[in-house]
Amino acid sequence: MTRAVLFHTCLVNEIDPEVGLAVVRVLERIGCDVDVPAAQTCCGQPAFNAGFQHDARTVARHTIDLLDRTTGPIVIPSGSCGDMLVHQYPHLFADEPAMHEKAVRVASRCREFSQFLAEHAPQHAGGTLDAKIAYHPSCHLLRGLGVREAPLDAIASVDGATSMPVREQEECCGFGGLFSVKNAGISSAMLDRKLAAIESSGADRVVSCDLGCLLHIGGGLHRRGSAIRTQHLAQLLDEAQTR
């Protein structure tokens, strides 16, 4: 059995635990023994992106120490938090050799959820579900971690699921963490374009690997009274696997 450490992220823990439970179920179905360290909090990205690197280091130190005491791959259901752990943590501790070494060690074990699936069970995602899907590649997953195919392959492995073409699919949805409130006007203009593209794609659901983007897109769809729903990739697979 593969042991997998779940870094569930703060948004999943606090806002949408169903995403985390779906991740656990999908991982268990491919034979993983999931470990959830109880002391995990947040990766610290809000402080980091806002420029408060000292504060981000405080949080990063806690997370690195915690994860470094675990073993096995660390699965993260977020491209954004994944990028923080993989790329930004080592950068944050560039001037602190002992922490840097630990950060690199932890980073080398981190896998975003779809990435982990592609590496460990490329054929076993599957299931059946009649769904027209607009896949939204989050920027940090796509351009940060460089994961383009894995989520699309996972969607393609579901019988009956169709990936709808979305105009300017790889353009940012405008979430950007604090950007969404600090530059609310620009963020909502970007969201409008994204929603228009999703709506004209003919999809009945939006699937992504980042809860941040999904809250932003889903909140916009709800405000518009749209019937299109949002789902994390893990929820889609979980639903398809239990049909």
Binding site: H8, C10, N13, E14, I15, D16, P17, V19, G20, L21, V24, V36, A38, A39, T41, C42, G44, P46, A47, N49, A50, G51, F52, Q53, D55, T58, V59, R61, H62, H91, C139, H140, R143, G144, E170, E171, C172, G174, G176, G177, F179, S180, V181, K182, N183, A184, G185, I186, S187, S188, A189, M190, D192, L215, H216, G218, G219, G220, H222, R223
Partner: protein, 467 residues
């Protein structure tokens, strides 16, 4: 001319509300984007050429004093005059001084972002020299008393109807929105300006350190006229725009045109190697090269030195979702888009321009498209760090971050604090959605609802599941 950073949100908001601008931005940036993609498809070993261009530019930036010394000595050997300008005002005074000494009163200019940066035209007018922009876009900007809004497409914000009205008003010609007719009008006017001018002013896309060559790329041929017809030619360039040799220039030119306009090569590549020599058919009697610092040395000494490797292709503007929504003028200064968000605070100071590094979702599209692979998000983060360190963010945000870091590194306290937040949010929700939030969080509910947090956290559900 420059507007403080505090007005950024207002300028961005106005741009978002401008339907015609939105239409133009969406269309033009998409066309540039797809042209770029096909242009790169025609380049064998494109990634290796990008690597070579990056290495050429970053090596130049790293060894700038040596490169500049070599460049200056080659220029002098080629018969050019070399001038060093610390500030924009110094540069303008030098150019005006050259005009005065040589008795020049009419200057034709090819496109130069550096002259926009120094507001050279105003300075020349004050010194009794009439500057005439000869790049078609810049000519219209000048006629309209406007400012460029894109590095390589200065009037991306204007429609052909706008251009027709500007020409009708300023040149007293009949109104038309036929692009051929508009271009023909400009061509006729500019032809006589070229023949009358006694000074030519250009920028430089590159300077070649080993040969003292000034390189200009244009599509209209105006660069060639500006550098050969008038009796005095002044080059105004930033000190950072150097490459070592012609081989490095080759790599840079290959990626510049492809990234900028989606061409394999621009229509004209002009290489100036000095003033007219004995027996030359044309060329200026005097060649002056003005090398401008204006904050570049300061940038070079800091964490955003890499931005000096920029070759001003404008590709990052075309793919930037923020630029595509707000256009160039919202950035408030000469250089718009992701590159401007780094260059402007660097050249003009962080305090008044502190909003620019935050005008990004850090989506990374700019980093991916940049022909010389500049890590723009990394530099934006460095500037955000400087903004926070200089206490230029609201105090409340700084305290909130401190509190966040303190609790997020103490799990039990963090659970308690987030529980309070969840209960508070759930109390504001109806049917599972929060529709209005106070304070900064109100930015969220302006355009979208917030899904209410679940009653139990994932950790709580996980513990139940295990029990």
């Amino acid at each position: 001319m420059t507007a403080p950073s505090a007005d950024f949100a207002a300028r961005a908001g106005a741009a978002i509300g401008d339907a015609r601008l939105q239409d133009a931005l969406g269309r033009v940036t998409a066309v540039f984007g797809s042209r770029r993609t096909s242009a790169f498809a025609s380049l064998p070993n494109a990634e290796a050429v990008r690597d070579a261009a990056r290495a050429a530019r970053l090596t130049a930036v790293a060894n700038l004093p040596d490169y500049l010394e070599r460049f200056e000595s080659r220029l002098l050997a080629n018969g050019a005059h070399v001038h060093w300008a610390d500030t924009a005002a110094d540069a303008n005074a030098i150019v005006a001084g050259i005009a005065t000494r040589a008795g020049c009163t009419r200057a034709v200019k090819s496109k130069s972002m550096v002259s926009e940066e120094t507001h050279l035209n105003e300075a020349l007018e004050a010194a009794g020299v009439a500057p005439i922009e000869t790049d078609l876009g810049e000519y219209i900007v000048q006629l309209a008393h406007d400012r460029p809004s894109h590095i390589i497409a200065p009037i991306i914000h204007l429609t052909r109807q706008d251009v027709g009205r500007v020409m009708q008003r300023e040149l007293k010609v009949p109104y038309t929105d036929d692009t051929q007719a508009l271009a023909a009008t400009a061509r006729t006017r500019l032809r006589s300006e070229f023949l009358r001018a006694d000074m030519g002013i250009s920028g430089a896309n590159f300077g070649v350190a080993d040969t003292g060559t000034i390189v200009l790329v244009t599509n209209e041929g105006n660069g060639r006229m500006v550098t050969t017809l008038p009796r005095v030619h002044v080059v105004l360039m930033g000190i950072e725009k150097l490459v070592a040799n012609l081989e490095e220039l080759d790599a840079c030119l290959k990626v510049l045109a492809r990234s900028g306009t989606g061409q394999q090569l621009t229509v004209y590549t002009t290489m100036v190697n000095g003033p007219r020599r004995e027996g030359d058919a044309d060329g200026p009697d005097e060649l002056h090269v003005v090398l401008l610092d204006n904050g570049r040395s300061r940038i070079r000494a800091g964490d955003t030195a890499e931005i000096l490797g920029c070759i001003r292709c404008g590709a990052c503007l075309n793919v930037c979702p923020v630029y595509r929504n707000i256009g160039g003028h919202a950035y408030g200064d000469t250089y718009p888009g992701p590159v401007g968000a780094i260059v402007t605070p660097g050249l003009r100071g962080l305090e008044p321009w502190r909003e620019l590094p935050h005008a990004s979702t850090l989506c990374g599209a700019c980093r991916d498209v940049c022909p010389v692979r500049l890590d723009i998000p990394r530099m934006l983060l460095a500037l955000r760090r400087d903004v926070a360190a200089a206490d230029l963010q609201p105090r409340s945000l700084a305290w909130a971050m401190k509190l966040f870091a303190w609790t997020a590194s103490r799990p039990a306290l963090y659970r308690a604090a987030t529980r309070v937040a969840r209960v508070w949010l759930r109390a504001r929700a109806r049917d599972g959605w929060v529709r209005a939030l106070p304070g900064l969080a109100g930015g969220w509910t302006r355009a979208r609802d917030l899904r209410a947090p679940a009653a139990k956290t994932f950790q709580e559900r996980w513990q139940e599941r295990r029990a």
